[in-house]
């Protein structure tokens, strides 16, 4: 979610309220592997529950264990739905699917366009426009076959030419689209059309799981030859809704695509996506009846609304990860004992309870909680100020003082940093906070200062490592440059045998957990609200297929 975290964030989303539950300063092994397995099974169960809901189930499962009844009844056709999403920033001022990086613009794109494949609610990948995506024996060449009978909004059939054009345009070095990083291993010149709806895709480096990258945020299929997307060049997609009208920075209106390839969908006649910056205002729009769905509510609000029951509250299992980033190539973070001490000086449970009102899961310094290949078996790092202190003594860094760069650029960030500074004091570490203005944080501070904060949408490991953990990644926010690790990553990524691949990924993560510069303290949930009459809204993780997609949503009679 690349951009999602960058610049659209509201800054004022989180109020520090909520139950300050008794803090759990337990030894690091307290979270047993069995517990983790349960959680994973739970995520899968949720996916099943959600799809059940789409078929008319009466309950919406929430990751927090709560349910809220909907009065939507069976799916039915018709109606206009108004959804308010975060945004109204200049980054929403685009209809270009390869540029639309904010949450709001992302929701517009996914209802207009389709991807070849997409993340399911459990972060595994399912095919969408692709009928099949198959590798050769060593992952050096993939064959993508398109679904038959898919039509563009202008009636033209989807073809191999569209697919080849989309990949080449995305990878065009002149345009430098962010999504090009996701598919950097694809040899765009070598693309070959096999038949009307089949394309052979050669790789510069072999890869065993191309679909997890094709499901990336920006990787949409666009029509052959398109270069402009605006009111004068209305976007033509294959998605469930057609483009209607765009009022930049304010709202986008879409209408039902009657010839959508997924039969019976979508249900809504019209979908209006309205950008509202402040979470309080989004909630007010919902409570006052000016909106049918409100995305991304603040955590403290969600708790209150779940109690009040006036609207449905729908939470995703895993949303965004939040981290403190130490650059391992800068002092004092180049000392592994210092890194370990700083990792032990954060009370993750307290951050989850206080900053996110409980709507988050504790992180274990690794990306991808709940995603395939995530290393569940490592012990959970706990809060251990005494051990941190002794590590610092060993490193000759007693009374360590560091500056953590923070900003209110993303909800909860400033609060998490403030709390961390307090927690670290018990380990004898003085964390000074340097607050930067939100508008220049991502361009001037993040990935530049040795100790700063970051946050990423949570999905495939392959994707995240390509963005931030390779020696060549220009978003390398922790200064992690280990040629040996790179080599092992490329090998793991190209390992066709699933068991061996999992072991190799576990090994890569072991090293990151031990030595890396990420202090990933929380995975916060995504919270939406909806009127009771709205059916089919599900708590899907951001960036998954179900998140922000309105093809399964209907307005009931209630």
């Amino acid at each position: 979610m690349v951009q999602a975290q960058w610049f659209h964030e509201d800054g004022d989303g989180s109020t520090m309220v909520g139950p300050a539950r008794a803090r759990l300063a337990l030894p690091s092994s307290v979270r047993s592997p069995a517990h983790q397995v349960n959680r994973r099974a739970f995520l899968r169960g949720l996916a099943v529950a959600s799809s059940g809901l789409a078929l008319g189930g009466g309950l919406t499962a929430c990751a927090s264990g709560q349910t809220s009844p909907t009065g939507a009844g069976e799916p039915r056709r018709g109606g206009r739905l108004r959804a308010v999403v975060s945004g109204a920033s200049s980054s929403d001022d685009t209809l270009h699917p390869f540029v639309a990086g904010s949450w709001g613009a992302g929701i517009v794109m996914k209802n207009l366009f389709d991807k070849l494949c997409a993340y399911d609610d459990d972060l595994t990948v399912t095919n969408r426009l692709a009928e099949s995506i198959e590798p050769n024996s060593d992952g050096s060449r993939w064959t993508i076959r398109l679904r038959d009978g898919v039509e563009w909004h202008d009636g033209k059939p989807l073809s191999a030419d569209d697919l080849m054009y989309s990949i080449r345009y995305l990878l065009d070095p002149k345009s430098s689209f962010t999504g090009a990083k996701d598919l950097a291993m694809v040899d765009a010149e070598g693309l070959r059309k096999v038949d009307r709806r089949t394309v052979a895709v050669p790789m510069r480096q072999p890869i065993a799981d191309l679909p997890s990258l094709l499901a990336g945020w920006y990787v949409y299929v666009i029509q052959d030859g398109t270069t402009a997307f605006d009111n004068d060049h209305p976007p033509v997609g294959t998605g469930p809704f057609r483009f209607g009208r765009w009022s930049p920075g304010d709202r986008v209106r879409l209408t039902r695509n009657d010839s959508y390839w997924e039969s019976g969908r979508p249900y809504l006649d019209e979908l209006e996506i309205i950008f509202i910056t402040k979470p309080d205002t989004r909630l007010n729009a919902l409570l006052g009846g000016d909106a049918d769905v409100a995305h991304e509510l603040a955590w403290a609000q969600a708790a209150a609304q779940e109690r009040a029951g006036r609207v449905q509250v729908v939470t995703s299992p895993v949303g965004r990860m939040q981290s403190f980033n130490m650059m391992v190539d800068r002092k004092p973070f180049s000392d592994p004992d210092v890194r370990e001490a700083l990792k032990l000086a954060v009370d993750r449970q307290e951050i989850v309870d206080t900053v996110y009102s409980g709507y988050a899961e504790v992180g274990n310094d690794l990306y991808g909680l709940g995603a395939p290949l995530y290393h569940d078996d490592l012990p959970q790092r706990g809060y251990d100020p005494d051990k941190a202190k002794s590590l610092l003594r060993k490193a000759g860094q007693e009374g360590l003082t560091v500056t953590l760069h923070t900003s209110d650029v993303s909800p909860g960030m400033l609060e998490a940093a403030t709390l961390y500074a307090e927690q670290a004091r018990r380990a004898g570490i003085a964390i000074k906070l340097d607050k930067s203005p939100a508008d220049s944080y991502w361009s001037q501070v993040w990935a530049k200062k040795p100790f700063a904060q970051g946050g990423w949408g949570n999905y495939a490991l392959d994707w995240f490592y390509g963005q931030t953990m390779l020696s060549t990644s220009d978003r390398n926010e922790t200064g992690w440059r280990r040629p040996d690790w790179d080599k092992r990553f490329f090998a793991a990524r190209a390992t066709m045998d699933p068991g061996l691949r999992e072991r190799r990924y576990a090994d890569l993560q072991q090293e990151l957990w031990q030595d890396g510069g990420h202090i990933i303290h929380s995975f916060m949930q995504w919270i939406d609200g909806a009127q009771h009459k709205v059916g089919g809204v599900r708590g899907a993780p951001p960036a998954s297929d179900g998140w922000g997609s309105y093809r399964d949503v209907w307005i009931g009679g209630a």
Binding site: G101, T178, P248, N284
Partner: protein, 328 residues
């Protein structure tokens, strides 16, 4: 400015010239101010779309050249000024949309909101202020003053949130957000204007009422009013002919201050109600260092503020003839 012109016209002309000069100065300040902010549009654009971390130095340089940011700011300012005089406000550096499109309708909406608040503020401030000032020290005056002080100390978003809680979510009388149908004006759904205007009034009225009340008190105690009263001039006539003009005229400048302060309050109120005004555009444009958009909005706001002050000056000149000749 010849000596033959009517003194009122001369005074007006001089004020308007000065106003134009101040607006010009404000645009220079805004342009220079955006130069001082860390980063420029090229860096911001690349930090979001070309691989983070601001892109490579070559990419930044290339984009700067493309956007014309590699030229000295004074030159770019002169270009901008020349364009503006021709009625061309340029294009957004970020989205490439014409600035007039971005500013156009939303500016109208903001002026509508601010204008309504100002139009209601002046009678409320003068009415309540004079009424309260005429009975200084009595119970009604004390209550008015206490309430005014209380409201004055409220930040806009607190006032707005309170009004939403009571009138929108509690009593369900008014919409809690100001969403208006695409392509229409807020006048198409006038009920969406009520709470934003009320929020602005709530915060601004306190100070203005107290200002007028204080002046009224002074005037009431003044020698000439007491003389007039001793001469048996009826109370009603006394108030209208002596108290109000003399209390209100000096307060006009201060009222004008409140009105131009409205612009700042409007930004907050627009955010709380998602009112389709310029504030989103301004905040976003500053964040993305989109100088042409910031410049157009800031110049417009400066012009509005200066216009209000000038209008107050002129009104004062009309109300108090002595001011026309002073300074000659």
């Amino acid at each position: 400015m010849t000596c033959h012109a009517h003194p009122l016209l001369t005074a007006c002309g001089r004020r308007l010239l000065a106003a134009a000069g101040v607006t010009g100065a404000a645009t220079v300040l805004v342009f220079a101010g955006t130069e001082l902010l860390p980063g420029d549009a090229a860096e911001v654009i690349l930090s979001r779309s070309a691989g983070g971390a601001g892109g490579t130095p070559e990419q930044i340089a290339a984009l700067r050249a493309e956007l014309g940011l590699d030229r000295p700011w004074a030159l770019r300012y002169v270009d901008w000024l020349a364009g503006t005089v021709d009625g061309d406000l340029g294009r957004s550096l970020v989205s490439g949309r014409p600035v007039t499109d971005i500013v156009g309708q939303r500016l109208g909406n903001t002026l509508l909101l601010a204008g309504l608040a100002a139009a209601l503020l002046v009678p409320v401030a003068i009415g309540l202020g004079v009424w309260s000032g005429l009975q200084q020290g009595r119970f009604a005056d004390r209550v008015t003053s206490a309430v005014a002080i209380g409201l004055q100390s409220l930040p806009e978003f607190v006032a707005a949130t309170g009004l939403i809680a009571v009138f929108a979510l509690g009593l369900r009388l008014l919409p809690p957000v100001s969403l208006i149908p695409d392509g229409t004006s807020p006048l198409a759904r006038p009920e969406t204007l009520v709470l934003p205007v009320a929020s602005l009034l709530t915060v601004m009225a306190g100070q203005s009422v107290r200002m007028v009340r204080a002046r009224t008190g002074e005037v009431v105690r003044a020698e000439y009013v007491r003389m007039a009263r001793l001469h048996g001039i009826p109370e009603r006539r006394l108030v209208w002919r002596y108290v109000i003009p003399n209390a209100v005229t000096p307060a006009l400048q201060l009222l004008a201050g409140s009105v131009s302060w409205l612009i700042g309050g409007v930004v907050v109120v627009e955010q709380v109600f998602a009112y389709p005004g310029i504030s989103h555009e301004l905040v976003a444009a500053v964040a993305s260092r989109d100088v042409p958009v910031v410049q157009a909005l800031a110049a417009t706001m400066a012009a509005c503020g200066i216009l209000v002050y000038t209008a107050a000056d002129l009104l004062a000149i009309v109300l108090v003839p002595k001011l026309r000749t002073s300074g000659h």
